[in-house]
């Protein structure tokens, strides 16, 4: 696929890295010659220096042949105009824009982003998605990752197993027999850094970090079985009062179960703005790394600290310091995926990676077949793919055990009509079913092939 990415900043760069890595023909456009040069040197992409929305620049970037354009410059308005130009002059079929201003995001429901108005197919808002992810982590404090699928009827849970986990050293096959009514499947295991799809004879060990697909009604039971009791989050400290921190604090205030939130922001003006925007939250002006300030925020008794400043290293260190001071749990925002392996060493309980959520919403439009959602796991090491089974596809009408899935692929759940069922070898996949698949990156092309329709699909 030929893809043009406008803006080689944090978001554009990560998207370019991912898409070029999947053998797409990627061209990056940015005003900054240094960034463009760096992108074409380090990533397998072509670079064009210029103003993204200018027709001559887009022409040079190959817009006439492009299948997709992703506008991820720092300006909402440039992103909007770029999509319009790509549509009107170059008939680029798919246009994705990054928009940050709340007001533009609210306009989404007002039919603004339609072909005959402002032609943007997908609006991505990393800040909003990060805030969402942060809330999910707080809601499921005993998981290091969690994401909803199948219209909220199934949940992906990332669980770090410790020595107290009651089901260690037992083959997974046996677990299925022991808990025959439990609608949950272990789809991925990370052991000593390596992620793999477990086989029925595999056992789980302490220190494993596992991914489980569970029916929404069985989430509590699933967590219990893997040794994680439900916990209440009553006191939360948010460090960083930017867009993300503010959005998180606002959402926490709106929750019915009263959560006490303290927000720490270094910049005085921003701290004051946050204090105005929030009602019950106590805003403290100062450095989140400062022990005295953390003590003032009552870190000792806090259930969770959420470090969401714009600096990865600050977020890591704040998390460590808060844990050391007695906070029960820490969650850090981390942009650089190479820092993720440090989490375990630093005893940080969960992390949020804005790239993963953003890349996920873009990948959905790249994959063949009728893909409804994609969630990228770890440093793009695997994907959870939610897709509708179409007639004539190689899996339609076949039993799960008859399907020639590659070794790195597992079926996590199947939705028939509105009913989510736990898959087993004897389950027949039918046209119209929605399947939730875990696939290691190397096996994604084969999964795509299995989801594609055959030539007779007319």
């Amino acid at each position: 696929m030929k893809i043009i990415i406008c803006g080689a900043g944090q978001v554009g760069w990560q998207i370019a890295r991912q898409l070029a890595g999947e053998k797409n023909d990627v061209t990056v456009v940015d005003q900054n010659p240094d960034l463009v040069r760096r992108a074409s040197e380090i990533l397998d992409v072509q670079g064009i220096v210029g103003f993204a929305s200018h027709p001559d620049v887009l022409e040079k970037a190959g817009a006439r042949d492009a299948d997709m354009l992703i506008a991820a410059t720092h300006s909402d308005e440039v992103n909007m105009v770029t999509c319009q130009v790509a549509h009107s002059i170059f008939s680029v079929p798919r246009k994705i824009a990054r928009l940050r201003a709340q007001s533009y995001l609210e306009a989404m429901h007002a039919d603004l982003y339609r072909r005959d108005h402002l032609p943007i197919d997908v609006v991505i808002s990393p800040e909003r998605e990060v805030a969402e992810a942060a809330l999910q982590r707080i809601a499921a404090p005993t998981t290091f990752d969690s994401e909803a699928f199948l219209g909220g009827r199934a949940q992906l849970l990332g669980i770090a197993l410790d020595a107290e986990c009651p089901v260690l050293n037992t083959p997974l096959r046996q677990l299925s027999d022991l808990f025959s009514t439990l609608r949950a499947i272990v789809v991925g295991v990370r052991r000593e850094g390596r992620l793999f799809a477990p086989e029925p004879g595999d056992q789980l060990f302490a220190e494993d970090r596992i991914y489980v697909c569970a029916h929404s009604d069985d989430v509590g039971r699933t967590l219990g079985i893997f040794g994680k009791a439900a916990q209440k989050q009553e006191r939360v400290i948010v460090v960083g009062g930017g867009n993300v921190g503010l959005a998180v604090a606002q959402r926490l205030e709106r929750r019915t179960d009263r959560v006490r939130v303290r927000l720490i922001e270094r910049n005085r003006a921003r701290a004051e703005a946050a204090a105005d925007a929030l009602e019950r939250t106590i805003v403290l002006n100062g450095d989140g790394m400062d022990s005295d300030l953390l003590a003032e925020a009552d870190v000792e008794r806090a259930d969770a600290v959420l470090a969401v400043t714009d600096d990865d290293k600050t977020n890591l260190l704040v998390s460590v310091r808060a844990k050391q001071a007695g906070c029960k749990m820490s969650i850090a925002l981390v942009n650089d995926p190479t820092l993720v392996p440090l989490m375990e060493v630093l005893d940080i309980d969960a992390y949020i990676n804005p790239r993963a959520t953003t890349v996920s919403s873009i990948l959905r439009h790249i994959r063949h077949g009728r893909v409804r959602a994609i969630y990228s796991i770890g440093d793009s090491e695997a994907e959870i793919i939610e897709a509708t089974v179409l007639s004539t596809s190689p899996i339609a009408g076949r039993l799960v055990r008859e399907i020639d899935f590659p070794g790195g692929v597992l079926v996590g759940a199947v939705m028939k009509g509105k009913e989510v069922v736990k898959p087993n070898g004897d389950l027949r996949i039918e046209e119209g079913d929605v399947v939730l698949l875990f696939a290691l990156s190397a096996d994604v092309p084969e999964v795509e092939r299995l989801l594609q329709v055959s030539i007779d699909f007319f």
Partner: protein, 154 residues
């Protein structure tokens, strides 16, 4: 049923090259508009949408893109030979130079599937493809296709 009913001589073209699937579909849209008076945009969207569900490159340099369109009244075909083969994500990963496009009405029962099967059988004949690749005159290409499909139908 034979191909002469759906393939008009004017809908057989020889093109130098197509830079991408997108450009090819745009060409096909324009041919459909010129020969059959169908809205080009609708054709392009339809073909692109179908292609995104699974590529229509069937191997051996042949692609059979197809789509069903709201406003169409009968099945129509377009044949394009490319002088320079193009990448098409085909099943055998080989570039494609013979492209037989089918456009069908939304409610065509099973007629469109029969037509697709006939076109597919016709194009699977290696001798026919060799002949198609050896000629550049659209009228000759049209005659080769009609003659070959008549043999298939018989």
């Amino acid at each position: 049923m034979d191909i002469s009913l759906i393939l008009q001589p004017g809908a057989v073209r020889v093109l130098g090259k197509a830079g991408s699937k997108k450009r090819l579909f745009q060409e096909l849209g324009e041919i459909a508009a010129a020969v059959h008076g169908i809205d080009a945009g609708q054709v392009i969207d339809g073909l692109q949408e179908r292609e995104s569900l699974g590529p229509t490159g069937v191997g051996h340099g042949i692609a059979l893109p197809h789509a069903r369109l709201e406003t169409l009244e009968r099945i129509v075909g377009i044949f394009v030979r490319l002088e320079k083969p193009m990448d098409f994500d085909a099943v055998d990963r080989q570039p494609v130079d013979l492209i037989f496009t089918l456009l069908a009405p939304k409610d065509s029962g099973v007629e469109h599937l029969k037509t697709l099967a006939l076109v597919s059988r016709t194009m699977r004949d290696g001798a026919v493809c060799t002949k198609l690749r050896a000629n550049t005159n659209p009228a000759t290409l049209h005659a080769i296709l009609i003659e070959a499909s008549a043999r298939q139908a018989a």
